[in-house]
């Protein structure tokens, strides 16, 4: 490339310039764009939109506070709803087991007189669990034992369950630990008591291995290894132990008493088939005239309306209203701004911006700005919902805290983009109608 010095403007020192003019590049025909690149048009629109947002950040920031707050509220409602929903789910699972929990009950003669032999039922259930390779299952023995306490003898409800029961029912402990397989080796069986029982014992330090004496057919001394969290409206003594010490203490009893059932945690998609198969097998093993029931009894088969739905509608409605008000404010500010930007839009049109490009750029400014507000709103919502103090307030004791729901983030971002598009529409239409030379000259 050959460069030469242009003529010097000699008479005005301060404005005089020396310019270097490339000869060859200008002698050649100007480059011609035979096809307007869609990619550069899209990228260019985003660059324009972002520049506008960047340059007018104070105005944009002020106009977007409402949008950001609304998006944050929307995302927080959905996110907190997910945490609260998880708490409700876990509560239900504590009560009825995780989906799908199949309850299997001892067979009975169809004439209703005689119940199956308990030992035979247990043996058949062991075989069923083995055959179907069910990883989490538990018998549930129920009974009552006498307890010698400082203030006299009291009775406590007692359940004999396997260690898997803790996982299947999301057992939550206030103190100590849940029962384990190794507890089977103990000479003094391990028990987990409820909070009322713990209170009755005077809340001893579990590290001192407090013991209780349980009386039924025999008398045994048990070691308290854990305490369940307090439950509302709980007033009786209750304890849980592994099946083996339960049988030692109370025997297997007779199934007529309704004191034994089995729970099997199985994959939900196979539960219907397994219900039928297990019912059929247990029935068949007892012979003609016997009938065994195997039914799902986890909360998910109960159905019914979502208890969270009304709350979510109310808070979501409020968030929607805030979003609408924010959008109206944004439309107002955008319209005023476009009036001030008529000259700039005229300049852009003069330099080749098509009407559609101006429309798209003004729309994009609004969308880019509201999406930026949406991102900030979602980030704040995540910080709120994932805050341990807030989580403890919404759903104390949740074991499996759900991640911030993706659908909440997408919903909030989608809402902010939609608001941006709606708020940008009117200013964009005004911008397209700008008359170029009139805008520039006057």
């Amino acid at each position: 490339m050959i460069w030469r010095r242009a003529k010097k403007a000699s008479d005005v020192a301060d404005e005089a310039v020396r310019i270097a003019v490339p000869l060859e590049i200008e002698a050649a025909p100007p480059s011609r764009e035979h096809r307007h690149s869609l990619l550069s048009a899209i990228v260019g629109s985003f660059v324009e939109a972002w520049d506008e947002v960047r340059i007018n950040r104070t105005r944009v920031l002020l106009s977007l506070i409402g949008i950001g707050v609304a998006v944050c509220a929307l995302a927080t409602v959905v996110g907190a709803g997910a945490v609260f929903g998880q708490a409700q789910t876990e509560q239900s699972e504590r009560f009825s087991g995780r989906p799908a929990t199949i309850g299997v009950y001892p067979p009975y003669l169809e004439n209703g007189v005689e119940r199956a032999d308990t030992a035979q039922f247990i043996a058949h259930m062991d075989a069923v669990i083995e055959r179907y390779q069910i990883s989490h299952s538990t018998p549930r023995f129920r009974g009552s034992v006498g307890v010698n306490l400082l203030d006299g003898r009291q009775y406590s409800a007692v359940q004999g369950v396997s260690a898997a029961y803790g996982v299947m029912h999301r057992v939550e402990l206030g103190e100590g630990r849940w029962l384990t397989k190794t507890d089977e080796q103990r000479l003094a069986p391990a028990v987990v008591i409820n909070d009322v029982f713990y209170e009755t014992l005077g809340r001893p330090d579990l590290r001192t291995h407090p013991t209780i004496v349980l009386e039924s057919d025999t008398t045994i001394t048990a070691v308290v290894v854990g305490v369940l969290i307090p439950e509302p409206f709980e007033n009786g003594l209750s304890l849980m132990m592994l099946p083996e010490p339960f049988v030692s203490l109370l025997g297997t009893g007779r199934t007529e008493d309704g004191n034994l059932s089995y729970e099997l945690w199985v994959p939900e998609e196979q539960s219907a088939q397994l219900e039928q198969a297990i019912s059929r097998e247990v029935t068949a093993s007892f012979g003609e005239g016997w009938r065994a029931d195997a039914n799902r009894n986890d909360y998910r088969v109960w159905g019914g309306p979502d208890p969270l739905e009304p709350l979510q509608w109310v808070v979501g409605g409020i968030a929607g209203l805030i979003l609408l008000l924010g959008a109206l404010g944004l439309v107002n500010i955008s319209l005023v701004t476009v009036k001030y930007r008529v000259r700039e839009i005229g300049v852009r049109r003069a330099f080749g911006a098509t009407a559609s490009r101006v429309f798209f750029a003004v729309m994009m400014e609004s969308i880019v700005a509201t999406i930026a507000a949406g991102v900030i709103g979602v980030a704040v919502a995540i910080a709120i919902v994932q805050n341990p103090a807030v989580q403890n307030l919404i759903a104390p004791g949740v074991q499996d805290l759900p991640p911030f729901p993706l659908e909440a983030a997408l919903l909030a971002l989608g809402a902010s983009a939609a608001v941006g598009a709606l708020a940008g529409l009117m200013p964009a239409l005004v911008a397209v109608k700008v008359k170029v030379i009139d805008a520039i000259r006057y």
């Binding site: 020396r18 003019v21 100007p30 480059s31 098509t354």
Partner: protein, 241 residues
């Protein structure tokens, strides 16, 4: 073949009483590549309307305009916009630099509407153009930190950064003092000459008009060739405009 040709061009608008006001009457004008012509005229003589037509912004009521032999009436709005962006560079009286953007960002603005290398290399091209107009050290300056002359040089760089074939300068020295105006016109004339682009200057100032090689006067919508030097030789030339 002329770069831009106006043949029997008229432009009229309908008034509220449904009568028609004829703003431009029978304009014939050919502009060649590398041409430099000036158009002078009083306020209300139709200069803005003519600028709209020359800048591919408006359509004539009758007559035809061809750019590079291509009749403009056949072009759709968006094609016309793209052609304007590619082939026409505007320089305005009030500079019309975009506020809040640096000199470099202002010069990059037309390249946002380009494609290919011009779009992706817009920063480099804009920097080179600012160097050419002697503002290599003021690239990061905001318009309100630049003098009038510097602002107009930024505007010239912006007009030329896409290598247009036609430069329309609308009162380019109208907002500058006499000396700065001369410098800016010298620069504009030089850069236009070197680039081979045609330059049309619309002005009130016969001294600025005199820098062109061909001179026209727009009077009540009619375009006449005039001899500006002869006009300058007479007393009070501005009074004639």
């Amino acid at each position: 073949m002329p770069l831009l040709s106006l043949q029997e061009v008229t432009r009229s608008v309908e008034l509220p009483d449904f009568s028609r006001l004829e703003i431009l009457k029978g304009i014939d004008l050919d502009v060649e590549i590398g041409d430099h012509l000036s158009i002078v005229g009083r306020s209300g003589s139709g200069k803005s309307t003519l600028l709209n037509l020359l800048g591919l912004i408006d359509n004539p009521t009758t007559g035809s305009i061809t750019f590079d032999g291509e009749p403009l009436e056949k072009l759709s709005g968006s094609k016309r916009d793209r052609k304007r962006g590619r082939d026409v560079g505007f320089i305005f009286q009030q500079f019309n630099l975009l506020a809040g953007r640096t000199a470099l960002e202002n010069v990059m603005t037309p390249l946002l509407y380009a494609s290919g290398k011009q779009f992706w290399r817009r920063r480099t091209l804009a920097s080179e153009m600012l160097e050419r107009v002697g503002l290599g050290d003021r690239m990061a300056s905001m318009p309100d930190k630049l003098s009038g002359g510097e602002q107009q040089r930024v505007a010239i760089a912006r007009a030329l950064v896409r290598s247009p074939r036609l430069i329309l300068a609308d009162e380019p020295t109208g907002a500058l003092d006499v000396d700065t105006g001369k410098t800016v016109m010298a620069l504009l004339d030089d850069v236009a000459e070197q680039s081979g682009a045609a330059l049309i200057t619309i002005t009130h100032d016969p001294n600025v008009a005199a820098l062109a090689r061909r001179h026209y006067r727009l009077d009540n919508g009619v375009l006449h060739p005039i001899d500006v030097r002869r006009m300058l030789a007479t007393s009070l030339p501005e009074a004639a405009l």
